[in-house]
Amino acid sequence: MSTKTLYDKIWDRHVVRCAEDGTCLLYIDRQLVHEVTSPQAFEGLRLAGRQPWRTNANLAVPDHNVPTTDRSKGITDPLSKLQVDTLDANCADFGITEFAMNDIRQGIVHIIGPEQGITLPGMTIVCGDSHTSTHGALGSLAFGIGTSEVEHALATQCLNQKKARNMLVSVDGQVGAGITAKDIMLAIIGEIGTAGGTGYVIEYGGKAIRDLEMEGRMTICNMSIEAGARAGLIAVDEKTIEYVKGRPFAPKGDLWEHAVAVWQTLHSDPDARYDREVHLDAATIEPQVTWGTSPEMVVPIGSRVPDPANEPDPVKRKGMQDALNYMGLEAGTPMTEIYPDTVFIGSCTNARIGDLRAAAAIIKGHKIAGNIRRALVVPGSGLVRKQAEEEGLDEIFREAGFEWRQPGCSMCLGMNDDRLTPKERCASTSNRNFEGRQGPGGRTHLVSPAMAAAAAITGHFVDIRTLED
């Protein structure tokens, strides 16, 4: 009887050869390219006189540096402009398909892959971006790489890899009303820590994961890297196949039938063995808010800011104290008494249509609170933006006082003009609350889109389950 995990199956199908020490040449089906981590890789190809191994295996999009305001005058920051222009030029030179800044299909690389059917089940996918783990939601082995490996994948269509260990994170049972994929994932990170998945590929399972729609599964897999794992995976089921069907780059006709037959095998065998298993009880998961400067510094909304004095480990205690100092918080403060200045709804974690719908449902008929200085909605792609506008979501956001922006990474990391100022406190649907991540001195609290929306209209963090219409 076969006892393979989903990871084992995808890995085995992509090994070209293995050396004695277990380092394998792993074939890469797809490489996604963006402007920040690729210029040096293309330069490397040029210097060595090399061409891409398989041009049509690559797709490029500018996302980190693009302005989310008016684009009619182009990019004003000369360095951002140079980087985006360099991507355009490299794609033209090497014949790589690019969704350029003013293409309606442009968006955050991890949003457009699944959206276009460029991401397909069973693939190996890489990108010079750690949130490449997102694509694992479709049952593909997807992971972030550095620029040297971007060049290596361009030149050889392969990477030198050692197989990771298998971890199962099973979220058993059913989540309560109002609990979203983001809350589940933050709870997982709170449980296993930001290094808990280091050296593993995490497969997410259990009823609460199977119950999620595809977009929620993408939110889960997206933050695998915040749990230290290079990749996250979710088994293919009917939802996966239904999601992929009819997308522009998905197979059609007989090829579709053939593909579906293969994809239906993309799940772990019943007796698959994992090197580590973690089980969470879905029913105990509450809406989550981070209080510190690492995604593992997270608590349920009903809690208080933790007290470092209660932490026995001196290294962790110091880390907690540093975080409180940076965040300008006092131990013991109820999370519901933290007042953001800014609300950011966006990023590869939470800028899909379902995320915007969830936020709009809370905001509808309300105005942002007086203490909220700015509130941004940055859709994940041009097509998400268009869909939202067709549904009238943009009007709901605008009427509440939100700014309705063009697609890109935006304030998740502030490589464009969307940045926090020192000490500015932000309720953010993004993935990292590191020091300075959203702007120098900026203070980030990671939450779900619904929780961010609720914070926007009440002016403080609040349990969305207690929110009245």
Partner: protein
């Protein structure tokens, strides 16, 4: 890539866990399209009191004298001693580029984020994992001893301390050989071009929609 064989270098301790790549090299410096020149902006937000921007001359910027890299006794350090989960966060190779440009060739820590460690080894920086208790001991020794050096030998996979402490570390054989010889990994992989092509042909027949 410059080969790494052995190093006897001055050690600087960075006493924080979960040091992320945003801290190592903040995002505004990622707009460069080059591989070099990141050293002056390594740990920019901790190192300087003002806000750093690309192109800004760092020589006149106000230094945060409390930050360990700015302390006179650690000038010229080539070995960074760090805590758990060093290099977590994004996949930016600009992080090892900045460490290398500053002068670091070795980072010693109880654990590293996976992508970061991988990126280091592709740039001639050796990530050394030692037991957490050993790391604790090294932190005590380096803080107590001005001019504290470690000797790091990749061939024998050993770290030795001035007091005669001797610790072995693990490293993948492939990664080790690439570092020892400064190998170009792409050339190595292209030696298997025929195998890659044969693999592609087989896969094309099995799953044609992938091509």
């Amino acid at each position: 890539m410059e080969a790494f064989t052995k190093l006897n270098g001055l050690v600087v301790p960075l006493d924080r866990s979960n040091v992320d790549t945003d801290a190592i090299i903040p995002k505004q410096f990622l707009k460069s399209i080059k591989r070099s020149g990141f050293g002056p902006n390594l740990f920019d937000e901790w190192r300087y009191l003002d806000y750093g921007e690309p192109g800004k001359d760092c020589s006149g910027r106000p230094l945060n004298t409390d930050f360990v890299l700015n302390q006179p006794r650690y000038q010229g350090a080539q070995i960074l001693l760090a805590r758990e989960n060093f290099g977590c966060g994004s996949s930016r190779e600009h992080a090892p580029w900045a460490l290398l440009d500053f002068g670091f060739r070795v980072v010693v820590a109880p654990s590293f984020a996976d992508i970061f460690a991988n990126n280091c080894s592709k740039n001639g920086i050796l990530p050394v994992v030692l037991d957490v208790m050993v790391i604790e001991q090294l932190f005590c020794e380096v803080t107590a001893t001005p001019g504290y050096h470690l000797n790091v030998d990749l061939e024998t996979q050993r770290v030795t301390t001035p007091g005669g402490g001797n610790f072995s570390f693990e490293i993948d054989e492939f990664r080790k050989q690439c570092l020892l010889q400064g190998l170009d990994e792409i050339s190595l992989s292209l030696q298997h071009a025929d195998e890659i092509r044969a693999f592609e042909e087989r896969r094309r027949s099995e799953e044609p929609w992938l091509f």
